[in-house]
């Protein structure tokens, strides 16, 4: 009996329907303490006073963890990709977003932990805030990071992601119309039904076990080991069964602090985020600001595209440089555009750091490019199916970064929805295939960019 292609039931299907599937919150460990976090109530401030003495002295409190307890306070999750650290695990002398964690309390029960959080004495001196990515470059904009408001460490220490291809000026000169638009998709929440959670258990042999909701066991193992400055075998991440993630459980948001609290208290510590924390303090999908300008001919070819992207990274970089890079690689969408001028910035604002969410970097392109395509079609009187089929990727077309498309199925999927929608296409378009361009589908301006060899 074939397994591949078969509609076999879920491996964990029976476990799910009987309530037997075990998530982190279902793990029971003797002597377990409960944790609560102190989080910044303000968008941007210096911390002028910070005293945990009263909290530590409370009956039932076993540990109060602050930045002093973190062996390596700043670790860039994507440092292997050249993205340096810029974010402390716990705030030290300033906070840059509302909800930023400042301390973690481990106590006998949730009520005691919460009372101890409220007993921490802390004072803030508000700083000017920056929320609008467009204003981040203004001379009088408040500075979020010491060097400014955008990420400066792309390759060659460039302060932006760039794509340049062909001759954009010539494309704009040759166009019959130049059409521009501004696209702004919002930040949204992942909303997994299981909130962020970690249960850290010190083991008799000196190791620490972390029951984790991570989407990436080894990625989180590396992050925790880096912050604790220990080899990987000092930590055991237990997980693999997650109550929804959608990109929000890669940040390793709870594991490290739970581990430090457990080590300090010498007791197991569970840190389960409330739904309020999940909404107000966990990382979100990024808001994007995109300006697209297309050079288009009357017979339906997109000669060139100029694009400016401002990616709202929130207060820290996290994975944003990676997301913007991916965004730039895909900014032509499913279409072949030979002349390109793309500039993208990772911009910092005083909001919760943004992170990966389903489609990271490209979801924004899909909305912006497709809405722009539909606007162009409407403006110039093109049929939206035909306009897409004409410009859709073919074998031997090349991508923004000069990679050959070897087997694009853009034509197939457009045909499929046209068919399902009862749309009758003109014969030339109904007959389109993904084969290399020729005849009417190969205009002069695309001849030079076809690649038949290599990548």
């Amino acid at each position: 009996m074939k397994a591949v292609g078969a509609r076999l039931p879920r491996y964990d299907g029976v476990g799910h329907v009987t309530g037997q599937t075990q998530y982190v919150d279902d793990v029971r460990v003797p002597g377990m303490l409960w944790a609560k976090a102190l989080r910044s109530p303000v968008d941007h401030a210096a911390i002028t006073r910070f005293d945990t003495t009263k909290a530590e002295a409370m009956h039932g409190v076993h540990a109060v963890v602050t930045w002093r307890d973190v062996p390596l306070l700043e670790f860039g999750h994507l440092s292997a990709l050249g993205i340096p650290a810029d974010e402390p695990l716990l705030a030290k002398d300033e906070v840059r977003y509302k909800g930023q964690p400042i301390a973690l309390v481990a106590a006998d029960d949730l009520a005691t932990a919460q009372a101890a959080v409220e007993a921490i004495e802390i004072e803030y001196e508000n700083r000017p805030t920056l929320f609008d990515v467009r204003k981040a470059f203004d001379a009088d904009a408040p500075k979020i990071h010491s060097w400014g408001n955008w990420y400066p460490h792309f390759e060659g220490e460039m302060d932006r992601r760039q794509i340049r291809k062909g001759n954009i000026d010539e494309a704009f000169d040759n166009a019959d119309k130049i059409i521009s638009g501004v696209y702004r998709p919002a930040a949204i929440e992942h909303v997994p039904i299981e909130t962020q959670i970690a249960l850290a258990v010190p083991e008799p042999d000196g190791r620490i076990t972390i029951y984790s909701c991570t989407q990436a066991l080894y990625f989180s193992l590396g992050v925790v080991a880096a912050h604790l400055e220990v080899p990987m075998n000092k930590i055991k991440i237990v997980g693999g069964t997650v109550g929804g993630g959608f990109g929000g459980k890669v940040d390793t948001a709870a594991d490290t602090l739970a581990a430090i609290a457990a080590m300090k208290a010498a007791r197991p510590v569970k840190w389960r985020w409330t739904r309020e924390e999940e909404f107000l303090a966990s990382s979100t999908r990024a808001p994007w600001h995109m300006e697209i300008i297309d050079a288009v001919t009357n017979d339906g070819w997109i000669l060139g595209r100029k694009m400016l992207t401002l990616h709202d990274s929130g207060a820290y970089a996290r994975f944003s440089p990676y997301g913007l890079t991916k965004h730039s690689f895909h900014h032509t969408g499913a279409y072949t555009i030979p002349n390109l001028h793309f500039d993208g910035y990772v911009v910092f604002t005083n909001r919760t750091p943004t992170t990966a969410m389903r489609g990271f970097g490209v979801t924004s392109i899909s909305f912006a490019v497709e809405t722009h395509m539909n606007r162009v079609a409407d403006e110039m009187g093109f049929d939206p199916y035909e306009f897409r089929l004409k410009n859709a990727n073919r074998i031997n077309d090349t991508s923004p970064n000069r990679i050959r498309y070897t087997d694009p199925s853009s034509v197939d999927v457009i045909h499929a929805i046209a068919d399902a929608a009862g749309e009758e296409l003109a014969p030339a378009y109904a007959a389109a295939t993904r084969d290399p361009r020729e005849g009417d589908m190969l205009p002069e301006h695309l001849v030079g960019q076809l690649k038949t060899e290599g990548h």
């Binding site: 203004d138 959608f246 087997d407």
Partner: protein, 362 residues
């Protein structure tokens, strides 16, 4: 004071694997003394069905029943590296790792079987848990018996290992963005058509129907693929018309803090889903598979925005397409700025209007 129907389309593409690659996944497999198969993979199952898919791949590749396969992704002591369940890589990259491990252990099974049956392993195959002679299927030996022989006659532990690592694609020129090789493991394509109903008095946008076509390479488990498509569709609908972490963006004020004050789609927001799965096998994916998980929520917002324009004649270029935005747009009836060849929409939102430190000219 009326409801208007509209229709709009989008077509998209999406890469499989981490951007620029360099993301390893590894797996190892052992055979128990009764022939059952234990798989150790580091891939988290976040609901996407990694446990299911990888077990199917192993069962198929070795030739044993699906329920002979035990899957353990539970911890970092027994499982090897998997970069993670993101970047739509669980089926392609991690799947390839278990596939390689399965082929490796299959070879070990055939070698022991060959000794037992006194036949070259090259002339043997495994079907439904039995080792058969190719072309003479009456001659057989159960995998269970092979495992017994391995354990108690030959003193061999039958294991297999596999690792998948697609070459890291360097950016060879940061000024142009040119890369040294494909910065993805595969590319998938999809298209979406949306039918909406817009109430011009309340601004409410109801998504009635989503027609979606996805090229998934090979559907290793079609029900699982549908689950991603349907789940992704509703998430895309939320992104398109309902959800906003910052309702007063860019301000951080008045954020929703509960399921209720943050508008996550409920069962009553469901459109009707019409799903077309296209199999256009990838060159290097396990059994030709490609990724689907993330792309599933990318096509809807663009199709919905076009459908809203078709319904009531306004372009909304922000998300979510909230009732407020629809009503303001209906009121403003804004026209683009037209100057010669130039047709400029949304001037008021551009950096040219709002900023002093950055500008942008067509």
């Amino acid at each position: 004071m009326a409801k208007h129907r509209g229709f709009g389309i989008s077509s998209i593409e999406y890469p499989t694997g981490m951007n620029q690659n360099g993301d390893p996944s590894q797996a190892w497999i052992k055979v128990k003394p009764d022939g059952r198969v234990d798989v150790f993979s580091g891939t988290a199952d976040i609901g996407n069905g990694a446990k299911t898919i990888q077990s199917q791949i192993v069962a198929e590749a070795i030739g044993v029943p699906y329920d002979w396969v035990t899957f353990d992704n539970s911890n970092t002591d027994s499982s090897p590296v998997c970069t993670g369940t993101f970047a739509s890589r669980a089926t392609f990259v991690a799947g390839n790792a278990v596939l390689k491990a399965a082929k490796d252990v299959k070879q070990k099974i055939l070698e022991i079987a060959g000794k037992e049956m006194e036949i070259s392993p090259d002339d043997l195959e495994i079907v439904d848990g039995e080792v058969l002679v190719k072309g003479a299927p009456t001659e057989k030996l159960g995998v269970a018996d092979v495992a017994v022989a391995a354990t108690w006659t030959h003193g061999v532990l039958m294991t297999g290992t596999g690792a998948q690592l697609n070459e890291f694609a360097e950016i060879v020129d940061p000024e142009t963005g040119e890369v040294s090789g494909p910065p993805h493991a595969a590319i998938s394509y999809a298209a979406c058509a949306a039918e909406v109903e817009v109430d011009d008095e309340t601004g409410d946008v109801r998504v009635l129907r989503l027609i979606q076509a996805y090229d998934v390479g090979t559907a290793i488990n079609p029900s699982l693929v549908e689950g991603q498509i349907e789940g992704g569709a509703l998430m895309g609908l939320g992104l398109g018309v309902l959800e906003n972490s910052y309702p007063y963006y860019p301000s951080t004020d008045h954020r929703g803090y509960s399921i209720g004050s943050y508008y996550m789609p409920s069962s009553e927001d469901m459109p009707s889903y019409e799903t077309i799965i296209i199999e256009n096998p990838s060159a290097d994916g396990p059994y030709g598979a490609k990724g689907i998980g993330e792309m599933a929520n990318n096509g809807q917002p663009g199709a919905i925005a076009a459908a809203v324009h078709d319904a009531v004649g306004v372009w909304i270029s922000e998300l979510p397409i909230s009732p407020e935005l629809v009503l303001r747009a209906l009121e403003a009836k804004a026209e683009p700025r037209r100057e010669g060849k130039l047709v400029a929409f949304d001037d008021e939102k551009s950096v040219n209007t709002v900023a002093t430190g950055i500008s942008w000219t067509p």
